[in-house]
């Protein structure tokens, strides 16, 4: 299984949830949005995106539904569920704490 080398484990889930919190999107669009927002810094391979989406769906954080899309074909749109939204909030708090701690350590090393 190829893991995105430059992503902390579990971070991809957080990013996907955050993106879906804004609006429901299909898989390809999620990938595009990831690249746009992070200014191409976070290179998420298209390959690892789908297993992550399916896992989140199995866990009940997101749900999928087939809807017609811009190119006149139906696409699988993912959206956040209520438990998913709670989960995202918890994860964000967690992430804030973690990143604060890490940057603290990093600055300490510089000083």
């Amino acid at each position: 299984m190829s893991k995105p080398a430059d992503l902390l484990q579990g971070t991809l889930d957080l990013l996907i949830l955050k993106i879906l919190a804004l609006q429901p999107l299909h898989g390809w669009a999620i990938g595009q949005r990831l690249k746009q927002i992070s200014g191409e810094v976070l290179q998420v391979s298209d390959g690892s995106l789908y297993p992550a989406l399916h896992k989140l769906e199995q866990q009940g954080w997101i749900k999928a539904e087939w809807r017609p899309s811009d190119n006149n074909r139906r696409a699988k749109f993912y959206s956040l569920t209520r438990p998913g939204r709670h989960h995202l909030e918890r994860e964000m708090v967690h992430w804030e704490r973690l990143s604060a701690a890490i940057s603290g350590v990093v600055r300490l090393a510089e000083a």
Binding site: G27, D46, G47, P51, H54, K55, G60, A75
Partner: protein, 884 residues
């Protein structure tokens, strides 16, 4: 919220399993959509179509791998593997049909027998009685020197009720037989009289109409009656308007005021269908004992505390009224015990037997699984070597165990369902009436829980047995060793131990069955003092008021008419019958004293019975001295009586009672001359101790309610119709019922019934256990032979004789059997002591039973080991040595 999460995930999981194709197609479409969009994007960046497509596919990193990953996160793999495991398990089981069928049957037998017995235990002992807070209810009796469950007099009831400080309420009841006049004629029906608060004390309110009101049980109150649900359903067509109707009962008019709820039953009062009040019966008479008591304890009061309080009151009454109450004290039993106490030990013993059988089933299957695991050691080692994880291997065993346990369990459940039906149908109607709670017996959730527990235990054991045997922890290291070992010590250890456990249980069950059967035989063949074969008995009564002379004449006439019937050799009438449980027996106690001796105020307790001319002769009783009654013993002559042997020994030790005189406490002006001594007849239930008895001639104490005993032809049952029709022709207004043969009457008495059920069921369990034990032993020995082929071949090549080989194999069987027998006999002592309360005439350590059991076990051991031994002895050395 976890459940909110499930709303999404559960349907997804289900879809992944049951709509796989659909889910896969969607996954396909999703990924294709992605590739197309990416291709377009790439084209937009100036690539050619082919290039754009290739780049998109590369970016996604291989469609098939992605799909596989997505499937995995969907949890498909686990289920896939499970399905494969199940298919594999079923294939494995089908490859060894004999093993599979044996294992499934063993489990089904164990589960069905234990579930069946548990259903009875549940209905009788676990489910609460159908009253409000039944644990707070107690049954009250008067304790006499002869026993503790005797009737109360009305004054005692009133005194107990008003003076006690322990009961919230106290009431009395009295089982009766009522005469109901209907448009078709007259019939005797079971009924009961109760004090007005009886149903309130039990916490039962009528389904229709009203309960008895306070004061409705006084002598002057209007006659009212409450019907049981069954009577209302079957006699009165469940008519809603029954309340307000009147019934003709015992020559009085009764107003129906209510109907009891369907689940109500009160076994101590018999199958009563008509409930009326006591109407002050025997009020003010201290020598009349018509009642039993039932009371509800105040909260916080224990049964012993209540007994102590009542005993104090009883002592005060006894000192105030010694003539009537000198020997009477109080007995308080919990109502549950009073109702169920007699069947509890039997049911507990049966449940114990069923559990042992279930255990044997488990042990048997586990040992079979171990044998099988052993022969699969190679296969398992190879699978482990090829990379199967430990959990995966154990899971394989777990799946096999589950398949076995579920099939066996389901079969067992079906069998249990059938056998419950069958057993219930085998319970005689009369017994069902005394155990009404069995009517409520069904497949309840208690039973389902026990059943599930049994299946789960099975799964755990059947998984553990082979896993532990193969020592799955260090499986890899055994790969080579397993293949080439000649004798496997480890297997012999566990397998042998299991067989010994199985044999121990078999011995316990066989010993118990032997003891119970012997006890049943002893009970049926106990000395009842007469010959019950070829006897027909029937009850005759009349609701007309008749003079004593007319009653005497009727008794004589009926006896004479019957005596002339073809096949009838002798006839006699009597007030009660021998071997009668319960009411008629207890009600017959009176007090007698010997004329001319010091008299402290109350005589000795003895049964006061009546016997007509020819009664003792018909029973073929044993005349010890003096004479039996003659036609001349009528009311024109001085009173005479015959006493039984126990009374003779008790009141006239070392003296001749003939010519001595007795005085009936309730008839102190006349004395009774003893004209004969008869050997003890079993008056009470089978198995009861002999009690003193005084028989008086029917001609001097006649009654319009008596029994007729007829010694008839070889097929006594066939004579019943002609006897009945002869009686009807002679005296059409008589009611003749309860016609039965004496043997059948004895056979279906409660004592005999419980003993028979216990002996038959435990006997059946023992037989099944023996069969399973034999199969287990055979399995172990046969397997051991197959493992030792090389060793045996070697021995024979080195010159061992066939007989030595027989010895070698059979020795092993006998070693296991003797350990099992010895330990089993030791455990049987404990089991037998536990059930000593239901044994009659047999000591728990009965040497002949034990010897018999050991003999049977050894015979079975010979059989189970002979065939494998013969196979071992017929091994050809050269072939054996060549086998791998």
């Amino acid at each position: 919220m976890w459940w909110e999460n499930w709303v999404h995930t559960v349907p997804l999981r289900l879809r992944s399993v049951f709509q796989r194709e659909h889910a896969d197609a969607e996954l396909d479409e999703e990924l294709r959509d992605h590739v197309e969009r990416q291709t377009q994007e790439n084209v937009g960046r100036g690539m050619s179509i082919e290039e754009a497509r290739r780049a998109a596919l590369i970016a996604i990193g291989g469609l098939e791998q992605r799909k596989q990953q997505c499937r995995e996160v969907r949890g498909i793999r686990f289920i896939d593997d499970l399905l494969k495991d199940i298919c594999f398990a079923v294939r494995q089981l089908r490859r060894t049909p004999i093993f599979t069928i044996t294992a499934i049957l063993a489990l089904a037998l164990g589960i069905s027998s234990s579930s069946t017995i548990f259903a009875f235990v549940d209905a009788a002992l676990i489910r609460p009685l159908p009253y409000r807070q039944p644990s707070r209810l107690v049954a009250l009796y008067e304790r006499l020197p002869v026993g503790e469950r005797y009737h109360l007099s009305y004054p005692d009831y009133v005194a107990w009720k008003s003076q006690n400080r322990v009961f919230r309420s106290l009431d009395v009841y009295r089982p009766e037989r009522l005469t109901l006049r209907t448009h078709t004629g007259v019939e005797e029906v079971p009924g009961a009289s109760v004090s007005d608060g009886f149903f309130r004390t039990l916490g039962v309110s009528p389904l229709l109409g009203r309960d008895f009101r306070q004061g409705e049980d006084s002598a002057s109150a209007a006659r009212t009656i409450i019907l049981s649900y069954n009577t209302w359903q079957h006699q009165f067509g469940a008519s809603k308007t029954i309340v307000g109707h009147t019934l003709e009962i015992d020559d009085d008019t009764y107003l129906v005021i209510g109907v009891l709820p369907p689940d109500f039953a009160f076994p101590p009062a018999g199958p009563a269908g008509y409930w009326r009040t006591i109407h002050g019966l025997c009020a003010g008479n201290r020598f009349c004992y018509p009642y039993y008591g039932v009371a509800r304890l105040k909260s916080g009061v224990s049964v012993p505390a209540a007994a102590a309080d009542l005993s104090t009151i009883a002592r005060q009454i006894a000192s105030a009224f010694p003539a009537s109450n000198r020997d009477r004290s109080a007995a308080v039993l919990s109502l549950t015990y009073a109702i169920l106490g007699n069947i509890r030990p039997t049911l507990t013993a049966l449940l114990g037997g069923a559990i042992l059988l279930l255990l044997i089933g488990y042990v048997n299957i586990s040992s079979l699984l171990i044998v099988r695991a052993e022969s699969r050691r190679g296969e398992v080692a190879v699978r482990a070597a090829l990379g199967a994880s430990r959990t995966r291997l154990i899971r394989q065993f777990a799946v096999e165990g589950s398949v076995l346990a579920s099939i066996g369990g389901l079969l067992g459940l079906v069998a249990a369902f059938c056998s419950i039906r069958l057993l219930l149908r085998l319970v005689p109607e009369q017994r069902l009436n005394s155990m009404p709670y069995l009517r409520e017996l069904s497949l309840g959730w208690h039973l389902i829980m026990v059943f599930l527990l049994e299946v789960i235990l099975g799964v755990v054991l059947f998984t553990l047995a082979p896993s532990v045997q193969l020592g799955l922890a260090q499986i890899q290291t055994r790969l080579s060793a397993a293949r080439h070992s000649i004798v496997d010590k480890g297997w012999k250890g566990i397998g042998g131990n299991l067989i010994v456990a199985e044999l121990i249980i078999t011995v316990i069950l066989m010993t118990s069955a032997g003891l119970l059967t012997k006890s049943f035989y002893r009970l049926l063949h106990s000395d009842i003092g007469f010959s019950p074969k070829h006897l027909v008995v029937l009850h005759i009564s009349s609701q007309d008021n008749m003079s004593a002379a007319r009653q005497t004449a009727i008794g004589r006439e009926i006896a004479a008419v019957t005596a002339h019937l073809p096949g009838v050799t002798s006839v006699g009438v009597s007030g009660t019958l021998p071997v009668s449980d319960g009411e008629s027996f207890k009600a017959a106690f009176a007090h007698f004293r010997v004329f001319g001796r010091y008299y402290p105020g109350v005589g000795d307790e003895a049964l006061d019975l009546s016997a007509g001319v020819g009664y003792f002769e018909t029973l073929k009783a044993r005349l010890i001295e003096g004479r039996y009654f003659a036609e001349s013993d009528d009311d024109s002559e001085p009173l005479v009586g015959i006493i039984n042997e126990t009374m003779a020994k008790q009141d006239f030790p070392g003296r001749d009672p003939l010519g001595e005189r007795l005085i009936d406490q309730y008839d102190p002006d006349r004395s009774i001359e003893i004209v004969g001594v008869v050997g003890d007849l079993k008056n009470g239930p089978l198995g009861a101790e002999p009690t003193p008895a005084v028989y008086r001639p029917f001609g001097q104490v006649p009654s319009s309610d008596f029994y007729l005993t007829v010694r008839a032809s070889n097929a006594p049952r066939a004579d019943i119709p002609s006897i009945l029709s002869a009686i009807h022709r002679t005296e059409p207004m008589l009611i003749a019922d309860e016609a039965d043969t004496m043997l059948n009457r004895i056979d279906s008495s409660q004592e005999a019934y419980l003993h028979r059920v216990a002996a038959f069921l435990v006997g059946g369990f023992a037989l099944l256990a023996l069969i399973m034990g034999a199969i287990g032993l055979y399995g172990v020995i046969a397997y051991s032979v197959s493992r030792r082929i090389r060793e045996i071949g070697l021995r024979m090549a080195l010159g061992a004789q066939r007989i030595t080989i027989y010895q070698l194999i059979m020795q092993e069987a006998f070693r296991l059997a003797s350990i099992g027998a010895a330990a089993g006999i030791l455990c049987s002592f404990v089991a037998a002591r536990l059930m000593s309360s239901i044994l009659f005439g047999v000591r728990p350590w009965d040497p002949s039973t034990m010897t018999g059991v050991v003999a049977v076990l050894l015979t079975v051991t010979v059989l189970a080991s002979y065939f494998p031994a013969r196979r071992a002895a017929s091994i050809h050395p050269t072939e054996a040595l060549r086998t791998e």
